[in-house]
């Protein structure tokens, strides 16, 4: 088994899900509470990675961060090396690719917080930000964990975007799913089977965690 690929994959998934926790919260908050008439335009953009082929998404990200785009040139001037086919470029692509997997559970959790509780908090003098921190977030923990876990799991298995934006550089951008592809191409089925089984196990464990947490009645733990 290629431990380097596993390390790259875990690092990528962890950083992606943590970043999404930070940037996903304000986006989800805005999507939940904004009364802007054209909100659905942004909602659709956030959900786009759910339906778009990863290669298409990867292609546009590649163009957007490539040496011919202002963003790509700015980044190259700033850091000294271009974004495409680097770990940072791969991270950016992963964040965009997994955005709906974090934002949608967050937004669903926020929506489930009773409006009356939020209003009660306001009348008790707490600003919207303090209400968010002291009331909405604590009541949304399950949704927050779901979002983080789902985006982590989703990043573990991404392939098309990685190939388009990250390429296949050992130790930098070669992730587990690419590794499996390479092994199959080399007719090395035994290695591919091992890595596949690992990915299957991890994904199943992650989903078990999510569904177990979202159970309304949890009969194994004592009722609090």
């Amino acid at each position: 088994m290629n431990w380097m690929a596993i390390w790259v994959t875990c690092k990528l998934a962890t950083l992606t899900s943590l970043t999404l926790l930070i940037i996903g919260l304000p986006i989800a908050y805005w999507l939940t509470y904004s009364k802007w008439r054209w909100k659905f335009l942004i909602e659709s953009i956030v959900a786009l990675p759910l339906v778009l082929p990863p290669t298409v998404l990867g292609f546009y990200i590649l163009i957007a961060i490539g040496p011919h785009s202002p963003i790509g040139r700015f980044y190259t001037d700033l850091v000294g090396h271009p974004l495409p086919f680097s770990f940072q470029g791969l991270l950016l692509a992963s964040i965009l690719y997994s955005l709906p997997f974090a934002v949608q559970p967050f937004a669903t959790a926020f929506e489930q917080v009773d409006r009356k509780l939020i209003e009660a908090s306001w009348t008790l003098g707490l600003s919207k930000l303090k209400t968010f921190i002291h009331l909405i977030l604590p009541l949304s923990t399950t949704g927050l964990i779901t979002g983080v876990v789902l985006s982590f799991a989703h990043t573990l298995g991404e392939f098309g975007v990685v190939l388009m934006v990250g390429g296949n550089i050992e130790g930098i951008t070669r992730t587990v799913s690419i590794e499996i592809y390479d092994e199959v191409q080399a007719l090395n089925y035994a290695a591919a089977a091992k890595t596949s089984a690992l990915l299957l196990l991890v994904s199943y464990a992650v989903l078990l965690l999510v569904y177990a947490m979202n159970r309304r009645v949890w009969s194994v733990w004592p009722q609090k």
């Binding site: 009773d114 009356k116 509780l117 209003e119 009660a120 908090s121 306001w122 009348t123 008790l124 003098g125 707490l126 600003s127 303090k130 002291h134 009331l135 604590p138 009541l139 609090k224």
Partner: protein
Amino acid sequence: MAPEITLNIRKTFVDRATIAVQLRLPLDPPSVTILFGPSGSGKTTILRCLAGLEQPEEGTISWNGQIWFDAATHVHAPPQARGLGYMAQAYALFPNYTVEGNIAYGLSGLSVQEKKARVNEVLSLLQITQLAQQKPAQLSGGQQQRVALARAIARRPQLLLLDEPLSALDAPTRTKLCEDLRMLLTRLAIPAVVVTHDWTEALALGDQMAVIDEGRLLQTGTPQDVFSRPINADVARVVGIETVLHGRVREIRDELATVQVGPVPVIAVASPGLESDVFVCIRAEDVTLELAGSSETSARNHLRGTVQAITSLGALVRVTIDCGFLLTALVTRSAQSELRLAIDSDVRAAFKAGSVHLIPRR
């Protein structure tokens, strides 16, 4: 200018009557104002506008000269800035905090000791000290109500807004907590606006009362005044006078009017300027029932009739009698059994002339 809340608002809805209300609520001495009306009348929306949780389309709201809302100049003080104690209908306790946590929630400006002291003060004021460490889900309805009240008053608000404070409770608890609430409001001396559709609560809690129906203000006055002297049939219907009948004034002598209601003459105290066509309003609790053939009383009206319907209302029983017109009486359960009241039994209904309210028909 005496300190007061002035409210002059207009808010339209797609599916309900437009709210257009003008109100002045005195703040000194602190008093309890009842917003009274049937569900859907718009009274909760008015309360929410006062709380800053909703904005009217037009109009102004001011507190003691301070503008809270002005549609023309786009002024809208958020709820946080109004110094409120607001209690929503289902209490809206925070499920993730203990009772203590709920009460301390709005006390962010205080030091740890002050916070602790304030929480203990309201806990003991509402006699819920023993509940401090419980979560809201573990509490009964009455306990939740007390916690919500404690949370609302802990910040020492300048205005208390209570939306149906007792309606989520069962009848015995409600009676008990209604008394407690009245005592608390008197003791706190904070101006309060209470929304209710229950006339017993209105009578028990209110210093003044505004009757709202279909988004309009129908009458203001003391609760007793409004209930005993509704200015028109709409108010009479809304405040729940049990018997409202068409009548025609036959004669007025010694300030007593004889009003023909169907085949029956009814004696009523005549107010000045009485017209010939009137609504006759008789509150069910003003009607006494007696066995036919008993001795004379001071009541001017004695009507023989037969019992048409009997409805139990807990300790009281509502009895509908056909005595030429349908008259509703409210009697105790013991009176019902003493008089052996049953459907079709003969009975005599008595009520004083002063209990008959004549409202000019328009």
